[in-house]
Amino acid sequence: MTDATPLLELRGLGVQLPGDGGPRAVLHGIDLTLGAGEALGLVGESGSGKSMTMRAITGLLPPGAQLDGTVRFEGEDIAAMAPSTLRRYRDRGVGMVFQDPRAHINPTRRIGSFLTEALTLNRGLGRRAAQARAIATLSEVGIDEPERRLRQYPHELSGGMLQRVMIASVLLAEPRLLLADEPTTALDVTIQAEVVGILDQLRRDRGLGMVFVTHDLDLALAVCHRVAVMYAGRIVEVRSAERMHEENAHPYTRGLLGSRPAIDHRAERLTAIPGRPVSAFEAGPGCAFATRCAHVQPLCRERPPELAPFRGGLVRCHRVAEIHQETSDGTSSQEATA
C-alpha cells in the first residue's frame, strides 16, 4: 500500500434492491474517499441511503441486492474478495457500531462472550487472554466493574452502557476503519453526548478512519472532518465540517441547517422542508430534490445535476451559483432593513 492509496474508496457505488416491479435503486453513483485517520460524516433523512452505504462498505447487502460500482478498502475491491478474505476484512479491517445495541447484541449470551468471541473464534486467542483484553477495553470506554460486566447479560445493562460495550467490541478488533451507524439515536439525550465523546476520543487516540452516519447535521459537523449530505440515495453536497456553516450551498443542506431550533432565541415555529423525503427509485429524471425545492426551474425536473465543485466543496445542483447569488443578496438586504 502506498501513501496515495486511500483507506476507503467508493466509486460510482449503486445498490438496487428487488422490488415489486423490478429492481429499485436505493443508492446511486456514490463517490467518496476516506483517508486513514479521517472522519467523514454521512448525513441525511431516513431512507436517504446512509445505512445502505454502510452495508455496502461491509459487503453485507440484503439478499437479492445488486451492487454497481466499486468499494475499495486499502485499494482492494471488496466485491472481488474470496469469502475468507472478506471475513478477514470484516474482522480486522472494518468495525461497525450499530444504532440499537439492544437489538444488535445477542440477548442470550453474556457480555463476555460478545466481547471475546471474535478474538477467540477468528484469531485463536485463548479465553483468558481475550477476557483480559476485554476488561482493559471496557475500562477504556468508561465502564466500571468490568470483570462483573463480563458475566452479565445484555438485559442487565442500560442502553448507554450497552452502546459502550458495542464500541469496546469494535475497538477490541483493532480495525483501521470505524463505521458508526447512528450510534446514539437509540439512546437518551443525556447519554448521547457521552457516547459520542468516547467514540470521538478513542478514534483520535488510535488514529482510526471513521464514517459517521447520522441525521443530525450539527453532530456530524462536531465530530467529523468532512461531511457528505445525502438525499434520495445520492450525495448532494460534500464539504469540510469547518466550512459547512458558512459555505453550505445546496438547497437541501440549507433546509437541514434551517430546520433546527436556534439556541439563542425562542422560535415561534421551526422551519420545515416542505413535502416528504423521496426514495432514490421514486425520483424522476431530473434532480431528486426538485419536488421539494423552493428554487426549482424546468431544467431541474428534466436533467439530473452532476456533483460539481462549488466554493471549496462539491454540490449537486443546477442552480447553485444563482441561488448563492440571490440568497447572499437577500441576507445583505435583510441585514440592511434590520
Binding site: R87, R90, M96, I105, T108, L121, H155, S169, A173
Partner: protein, 315 residues
C-alpha cells in the same frame, strides 16, 4: 433457578391433584354404574346388587371414595381392575414399558426428521425449501389411523419388513415391531416441528445481532451455532414439549391399529368395559405426562433465555 424449579414443582402437584379430582368425579358422574358391567345381562336381586356395591365401595359418598382412592394411590395402590381383578398398577405397568418405548422412538424420529428438515429448509432457500414445504404440508394432513393403514399395507403386508400387529419378544423384538407404529405416530408431529423449526430459524437469521456477528467476520458455522440455533430454540422446545405430551394421547389410535399391547390399547379396552379404576389410573398418567412435559419445557426455556430466569426470581 432453584426457586423456579420449586415453583414449577408446586404448580405441578396442584395441577395433578385438581385433575385427579376431575377425573375421579367425572367418571362416577358418567351414565351407567360400574356394577352393571359385572352383572352383564343378568338382573340381580336388590340384595345382591347392594352387596356388590358395598364390596366395590360404591355405596359410600363420593368424597369418601375419592379420599380412599387418593390415599391408596399415594401408597402405590391404585385399586383392582373390576374386570380381571388384577391390581391396576400391574395392568398399567405391563403396558407402560411398551408405550414409553413407542413414544421414545417417535420422539427420536420427530427430533431427527423434524429438526433436520426444518433446519435444511431454513438454510437452503429455493428448491430445497419448497420441497420440504410440500412434504411437511402433506405430512400434517395425514391422521395417524390413515398413516397406520398405509404403513401396514406397504411395509408389513407387501414388503414384509415389519410385523403388522403385536410385538415380538425381547427388547430388540419390541424395537423392531414398534418401528411402524412409531412412524405412524410421528408423522404429523414431524411435519409440524419441521415448520416451527424452519420459521424460528428464518426469524433469527435476519435478526440484527446475527448481522453484528456477520459484520465481525465470524465463520458461518460458529455464527449459526452461537447466534442462530440457540436463539431459535424457545419456540422449537415449546412445540416439542406439546408434541411429546400429545404423543401419549396419540398412542390410543396407533396401538389399536397395530394391536400393540400398551397403555393406549388398555385405555380403549377399559373404557369399553367401564373398568373405572384402570381408566382413572391411565387418565391420571396422561395428565401427569402433559404436566411434566410442560414443566420441563418451561425449565429448559429458562436455561436458554437468561431474561426468563430473571422473571422467575421476581415472582
Amino acid at each position: 433457578m432453584a426457586r423456579l424449579i420449586l415453583h414449577r414443582l408446586g404448580g405441578l402437584l396442584v395441577t395433578l391433584l385438581l385433575s385427579s379430582m376431575v377425573i375421579f368425579g367425572s367418571l362416577y358422574l358418567a351414565p351407567g354404574s360400574p356394577e352393571n358391567v359385572l352383572f352383564g345381562n343378568r338382573a340381580p336381586s336388590a340384595a345382591t346388587r347392594a352387596a356388590v356395591r358395598h364390596q366395590l365401595h360404591l355405596d359410600q359418598p363420593l368424597p369418601v371414595r375419592y379420599w380412599d382412592w387418593l390415599t391408596g394411590a399415594l401408597h402405590g395402590d391404585l385399586g383392582r381392575s373390576m374386570v380381571t381383578g388384577q391390581p391396576v398398577a400391574e395392568r398399567v405397568g405391563a403396558g407402560l414399558t411398551t408405550t414409553l418405548l413407542l413414544v421414545a422412538m417417535a420422539t427420536v424420529l420427530i427430533a431427527l426428521l423434524g429438526l433436520g428438515l426444518g433446519t435444511l429448509a431454513a438454510l437452503r432457500p429455493g428448491p430445497v425449501d419448497a420441497g420440504v414445504s410440500v412434504a411437511t404440508s402433506v405430512s400434517v394432513t395425514v391422521p395417524p389411523f390413515v398413516a397406520s393403514t398405509v404403513l401396514i399395507s406397504v411395509f408389513a403386508v407387501r414388503l414384509g419388513w415389519f410385523p403388522a400387529s403385536g410385538t415380538e419378544p425381547g427388547f430388540l423384538g419390541s424395537l423392531h415391531s414398534l418401528v411402524l407404529p412409531a412412524c405412524a405416530l410421528a408423522l404429523i408431529a414431524c411435519g409440524f416441528l419441521a415448520r416451527v423449526t424452519r420459521d424460528a430459524l428464518r426469524e433469527q437469521l435476519v435478526r440484527e445481532h446475527v448481522q453484528t456477528a456477520e459484520a465481525r467476520g465470524l465463520a458461518r458455522w460458529p455464527l449459526l451455532r452461537r447466534h442462530v440455533f440457540r436463539n431459535a430454540l424457545p419456540p422449537v422446545i415449546t412445540a416439542m414439549g406439546l408434541l411429546t405430551a400429545g404423543l401419549l394421547a396419540g398412542t390410543l389410535v396407533v396401538e389399536s391399529a397395530f394391536a400393540v399391547p400398551g397403555i393406549g390399547q388398555l385405555t380403549i379396552q377399559s373404557v369399553a368395559q367401564k373398568d373405572f379404576p384402570v381408566v382413572q389410573a391411565v387418565a391420571l398418567l396422561l395428565v401427569a405426562a402433559f404436566v411434566i412435559c410442560n414443566a420441563a419445557t418451561d425449565l429448559i426455556q429458562a436455561l436458554i433465555d437468561p431474561r426468563l430466569r430473571a422473571a422467575g426470581r421476581n415472582t
